[in-house]
Symmetry: C2
Subunit: 468 residues, 2 copies
């Protein structure tokens, strides 16, 4: 979390311009870069918020970004670096002097510093680490002791704690004294005062807004609130984000294996995690392994080809099913005309059930308590929709081909495929989760394979039995 103390007090525009980036800003910057005009680059970004500078920088083409860094690397202040997307940071860091990166690491809170250092290659990392004070270096190393995507990586080691026998006044004086001393013992920004016992274990907390409202002589012990949850630094960042969302947390204390307070996590990092995890789930469902707008066509191909390959294999399975019924198709070509409808509607039904199931797993609404209730509901809903659409499709088929037996066959095949689709949509993600895999990854391919294979097999198989 970083704040830029901008002393100039222009009131910002109150308009939707602030929601969308002003494309003129980007145009001005692009021209300044094109003319290799350092002064114009600096001037165009001077009054902007670090988050805006980061956004504008990300909108440049890769070439323009590199040219800008070459001319005016200093516009990438520590706060701007902390705001850039990982893939952009990765491109930019190798161009910066190790000293500029060390300064950024020193200035940023430890969670942001670690995210920056994560993106460095080994050689540059060694140089940057050498440029740090011993204290900063130790902090960074402590952060790297935790796995990627765990709460420990997002934790900042700066926090404010007070012993339970203090009063409100003592806590306030302590914070003020720390603030006046300067330095970086206090976090840039914090929201809660953690209250600890003599073993440094958190026993309660007080939001700063409550600290503000109680009399100075009030003992902390009398007014402190129960901590809804202590964060284990080893848990997945997604689990931490879930706890924040559930308990409406703004910050949460992190404790070590002895229960001692060792850091804190703040909600702004959790907002990023929530967006990141949502993006991953959505892309996984579509079979995309990674996506960023700064990608080249080549990396886009690499992110998507693997799932297309899986899809090719499953499509060939479906084709193989069709090839079993070549005779029947030659005799009654209407089968070839109609068979994609059965597969397509089944596929859609499966994807609907699948998406709802994955969403419910993400939000922890789907638990062992209600699994069977939900499975039953999905089966019932699939059957009901199956009957509705079977009737519709049977009528359409009759109008089109004037063959009542064909209508009957396609209707029965559709009902059967819907039922399988609904069950596959819920059972496949549950099975993947049970097996310890991410239920979003690969499940849509499994589901559509089921619906294609069963759709073709049911329709063509019934047709071969009853029509020919």
């Amino acid at each position: 979390m970083s704040e830029e103390n901008l002393q100039n007090n222009q009131t910002p525009d109150l308009s939707l311009n602030t929601v969308a980036l002003d494309t003129r800003d980007i145009e001005v910057l692009r021209q300044a870069v094109g003319h290799k005009n350092r002064a114009a680059i600096v001037a165009s970004l001077k009054d902007q918020h670090p988050a805006d500078i980061a956004d504008i920088f990300e909108q440049l083409s890769t070439d323009d970004r590199l040219a800008l860094v070459d001319l005016a690397a200093d516009v990438l202040s520590p706060s701007v670096l902390a705001e850039l997307e990982d893939e952009v940071v990765e491109d930019v860091l190798p161009l910066l002097e190790p000293q500029q990166i060390s300064e950024a690491v020193t200035e940023l809170d430890s969670d942001d510093a670690i995210q920056l250092i994560e993106e460095l290659d080994d050689e540059q990392r060694a140089e940057v680490m050498a440029g740090l004070s011993e204290r900063d270096r130790e902090e960074v190393e402590a952060g790297f002791a935790f796995d990627e995507e765990t709460a420990g990586r997002l934790m900042q080691r700066e926090f404010v704690a007070a012993p339970e026998f203090w009063t409100i006044g003592q806590a306030v004086d302590h914070m003020r004294a720390q603030g006046e001393k300067g330095g970086d013992t206090l976090p840039d920004l914090f929201f809660d005062l953690y209250i600890i016992d003599t073993h440094f274990r958190p026993v309660g907390y007080l939001p700063l807004s409550s600290v503000m409202q109680y009399r100075r002589e009030t003992p902390l012990r009398d007014v402190m609130l129960n901590i809804p949850v202590l964060i284990d630094p080893k848990i997945d960042q997604e689990d931490a984000a879930y706890l924040f969302e559930k308990y409406n947390l703004i910050s949460a204390p992190v404790v070590d294996e002895n229960g001692r307070l060792s850091g804190m996590i703040t909600v702004d990092d959790m907002v990023e995690v929530i967006q990141e995890e949502n993006k991953e789930d959505m892309l996984a469902l579509a079979g995309v392994s990674e996506a960023g707008l700064t990608d080249t066509a080549f990396s886009t191909v690499r992110a998507r080809a693997p799932w297309l390959l899986v899809n090719l294999i499953t499509a060939i399975c479906a084709s193989f099913v069709i090839s079993l019924f070549k005779e029947e198709i030659t005799q009654l070509v209407a089968l070839a005309v109609l068979m994609p409808i059965v597969a397509s509607l089944g596929g859609n039904t499966g994807i609907q059930a699948l998406t709802v199931a994955i969403r419910a797993l993400v939000t922890r609404d789907l638990t062992s308590v209600n699994t069977w209730r939900v499975v039953r509901r999905e089966a019932m809903a699939a059957l009901m929709n199956g009957v509705i659409f079977a009737l519709l499709l049977a009528v359409i088929t009759y109008v089109w081909f004037k063959d009542p037996k064909l209508s009957l066959v396609i209707g029965v095949a559709l009902i059967f495929n819907f039922l399988c689709a609904g069950l596959a949509g819920i059972l496949i993600p549950l099975g993947l989760k049970k097996a310890g895999a991410d239920p979003a990854v690969a499940s849509s391919v499994f589901v559509t394979t089921v619906t294609d294979v069963i759709g073709f097999f049911a329709f063509l198989g019934l047709a071969s039995q009853f029509l020919l």
Copy 2:
């Protein structure tokens, strides 16, 4: 935002149990409800956090929930009501006494109060409103002046402001005096002190953690920070959430049309909005209009049938294309066997591009500045993948059917379909957005219609020209 001051200081478990609900708690409660044992119900929920009580309650079946309310409506404290999902609240509120709802509305901050009242029917709403103090009633009415899903609905009217000529000490004394007075002039929880000019217009802010650290005699004007963004209450809640995410905001001031401070929005509400909007996008892509675990099979059918109907119509379009080539299929049944592969791979390519595009629109990474760069990249990536998979599929076709011309035809058709799929995947959501529609809704149906129709037409059309 609501806080429960639980004075008993048991330290919570430090275990992943806190991430997943303890299903035993639910079992105990369910049995208590089954035995109509009011004391056991109250006892089983006594030490739980309101968010946990809400979660446990949501896991019960509809019948058990209603039975519980009948026996022990009082366990649904104001904080629990504020934590319940909308669809559950909707079921429960009609069973509560208007007085219990009025009390909840009075106790909750105005944003939570409004969300509760939104779920009432007209008659009950009138009764609840009659039970409010004049001040609370006016606040609620002011909230309802804004449209649903706007920032205004999420705003709370309680906030803390200080004139710019005050010192830190004056601001602190003011907050403490308000706190000692009690009552509800201060929000339950707040994070920032807004600094206003003589016209009540915000000119800066200070996080409480900074207020804590400066000397009492420091003038606010000297240390206040620039407000990154003022929120217009009429903007969409999604836009407000985007601003929070972008600027790492914890709270933001809301101003009226004259620029005067009229309320604040806090990050916990934004976390909910972000989850809600992500859920909507994901479900919209899958063609589900609404989903909740408390749904019945019947409401599930209603939420999904409309998109299946659209899918039926588009599938018939694709079948119609096939029917144009009945002659060719009868002559060469391999066409019927292979045609779903072309359509399926194209559909997947389109959905990949579509999902990436929608994600980029949601995060505002896709702007008018880089649109053409992204479109070009999608076209290039689709062509490259097209060539790769055309070669693969041509080889497979040759091995299977030993017909080099069939291999050539399927390869060319696949490349063409991939290119169309990539372009449809990016241009359809951009077009929908330009037309003012939600790019996530309906776009996957459009994209797969394009890839089905073009896939069948290209493959069968080329086959009829060059094979027969």
